[in-house]
Symmetry: C4
Subunit: 272 residues, 4 copies
């Protein structure tokens, strides 16, 4: 095998692993989605005491089966990719490593409980697959809308954070540690639980004044909750609009022709 052969072999392997335009590339992606999901379910199952007790050994075998596959995949990625270091230190490179590292580390540090759970981060790898399989369009519009609304969301989040801090501090004075508001951070946690309308009820106001302040916060939360929805709803409409304003009729100068128009809808002149 000469150098050229290895190169072309590498390129076709690269296309299978990193792209999804060829049948083999698609098959690889589908298999990967299956492996990632199934191995994540194993991590979850392992955490259930009763399942681990009964099927612990089977889960361990399956886990190592997946780890070996993911390890192979990881090295194939390193081999086929052009800029190896860039890949290794990229976001997905690190996620790929975190997918397999905990299993190997658990051989050295057997009781590393939390290490094993980190494996669940392999779910993040799914986003790469989706990125390839042309789901981008839709998430593109969503991301565009979210990005466009970032300055508004920033102002909004800052206001929310101020409200949380101030209401939290007031509740700490009003209710105090005897009623469960042990400290300002604890009171802020309560304010967040309330303003987001989650309302666990682990901490709740006991005094009349506290209930009044809490009620005010909740009514405010109403209007506040409406703001991000309104923002995203609006930005989504903006992001999804077809660009109709760029084309102008050379004869009557009417603006706003849709992208598929060939003739001006007003004077019938051919558009440029």
């Amino acid at each position: 095998m000469n150098d050229n052969n290895i190169k072309s072999w590498k390129v076709s392997l690269y296309k299978i692993i990193f792209e999804a335009d060829t049948p083999l590339g698609k098959a690889f992606d589908v298999a990967l989605i299956f492996f990632i999901m199934f191995s994540s379910i194993i991590v979850m199952a392992e955490s259930v005491e009763s399942i681990k007790y009964t099927y612990g050994d089977d889960l361990l075998v399956l886990e190592w089966f997946f780890v070996i596959i993911f390890t192979l995949e990881y090295f194939l990625r390193i081999i086929t990719v052009h800029n190896k270091w860039k890949y290794i230190f990229s976001f997905y490179g690190v996620v790929d490593l975190l997918t397999i590292l905990p299993a190997f580390l658990s051989l050295l540090v057997p009781s590393a409980h939390f290490l094993l759970v980190i494996r669940v981060l392999r779910l993040l790898r799914l986003f790469r697959v989706f990125k390839m399989v042309r789901y981008v369009e839709e998430s593109g519009i969503l991301l565009k809308a979210l990005k466009a609304s970032r300055p508004k969301i920033t102002v909004f989040l800052f206001t929310i954070f101020s409200v949380i801090t101030i209401v939290g501090s007031l509740m700490y004075i009003i209710e105090g540690p005897t009623n469960g508001y042990a400290s300002i951070p604890e009171s802020m946690y309560w304010a967040i639980v309330t303003i987001t309308t989650v309302g666990y009820g682990d901490i709740s106001p006991q005094t009349a004044l506290g209930k009044l302040l809490a009620s005010t916060l909740m009514i405010m939360a109403y209007g506040i909750l409406a703001v991000p929805t309104g923002i995203i709803s609006f930005e989504l409409a903006q992001a999804s609009k077809t660009p109709v304003t760029t084309r102008t009729c050379p004869d009557c100068a009417l603006e706003g022709h849709p992208p598929d128009a060939i003739f001006c809808k007003k004077c019938g002149e051919k558009l440029l």
Copy 2:
């Protein structure tokens, strides 16, 4: 009675049972809505211990009254419909059978508690009635909007599911079984309860780090909750827009000209 007579008799019965354009067909539908609702209320009433104890026998009589009516209706449907097997295995055919089967099965297996509750599925039959009585237009717009937003919703649900899994796993590490987070699925259940802002409070974070992560999740939930609302709000506006599809070019037959168009935007022909 000759064959023809039976046929015409079948057709008119079909029109009464399956359609709602004739006065009798409408009366049949109204009666059916009443029977379905009343019989569903009986199923509910039966499940209340005190009511069952006092009025158990009356409820049983009423239930069998409805079952006999629904059985008659079921057989009339089979008799009058043209493609019998297609009906029997259709969605509503199965629902119609589930409406009456549990009652008959309970004669054989008297203690089949859960069988009796299945009868509540007869509520699904109401959707068929609504389908006939021209309520479709409105639900049509809703369905159109929901269908149009499916790809966006899919991306959205996948993101949500990843967030739930990852946050759930992290909480399992941070809080652990001693604080109620017994396993990763249990922690994911907590994450769902939190991210949807339901917040039962049956499980809630106890440690400072857990509360911090929970707070982050709740603030995120804010923005996240806004996304589907924004999507549906936008798609609804799209689906409800005045139909621009009524005008057709007399030359090239292109449809969907806006109301202010004078010339076809594709071929330049004057529109009528």
Copy 3:
């Protein structure tokens, strides 16, 4: 005093009491708002054990002061209004009566606890005042939007109700009375608490299957919650739009002129 004098005196009194265009009419309305609000606060205050114990007598005096004023007002309304019986049996006529009746009835039946609370319904009278003082425009748009979205909301509510009944019944089978799901209505109550994201936590799923079903319901609630918001948001936009489509240029036939346009914006022709 002749008949005519009484008539004109009645008319001017009618204008003061039922309308709000004259200075006296406005003053009457402002006084009424104050009386209604203050007397409602007294009903509330009376229900607080400690306040009633200390200030019980003062509250009683104030209450009777308001009852006498409202009784006077009620009889003035009957005297001045043209169609007396229509007023008495109108919505606001009944509310006006309910405002004063409980106080007089409590003289006969002293322990009629619930009667006294009915007095809080006098708050409903505020809506009449608002109706007069030109706040209608804004609430008009809101009502218009709500009315326009009624068929969509009906379809939506019916779907919600079916989901609640079916999920409630399933939870009753899965969890059963031992886990707090005592009956189907009770389970439906839980389903409502969950689907509206209120989440008291007085009943919450205990089994794995129940938690799975609850999680599905919550995720569904996400999308479901978005529908009415989307509907109202859309209808509000429709209701607020200035009607621009009715006027057409007599020369160039351009449609959609705003109501304040005098000349066609395209050809400069005077609009009709």
Copy 4:
């Protein structure tokens, strides 16, 4: 140093402190943001028992460090500002004073627990900084949308308040003090907790009738929650719309012509 020098020195100091267009002004703002945030974190940390016990002295030193800086800043603001009394009694002037006063007062009244928490109000000062650093545009649109929706929101809030009072009173009759609904204000607190979908669960209906009313309230809350979102979503779209006010008629000076207008819609004059 002559008078003129002092004046120019004052002016440049004023520009640094009150404005943010010069490099020094920007640096001052960034430093201020850092100081405000860090000193707020100290207030929070101080409220946590364990942290105060261990690092109490360090926190005290840091706190006084910030108080001295803020005091210096306060006096510099007074010196450089033209209209001194107007600044002192302005909103931010009072907030600036509240930032430093509690620390000095705590020297006189050592146990003034609540005074120290007031220091958290210094967070409000951040809004002034943001006001300067050109974040106004975005918050401007938000404020514009909120202001435009004020009359709608007022009608909405009044309706909500009436619903809360009436449902709260009814629940007080239905459930009564034995089930936790101790008084009408308490029941109104429950109604607010429910209608905003917070749902702590500290008070929840126990009787069948109470649960029915609560369910009705929750389903209503669905639709109600949609209203402010719809309002803000709509007003935001209005506020963000391309400004149609730039074109002015050369003849009658009417503003606000749409971009496709050729002639003035009021006087028929050709637009430029």
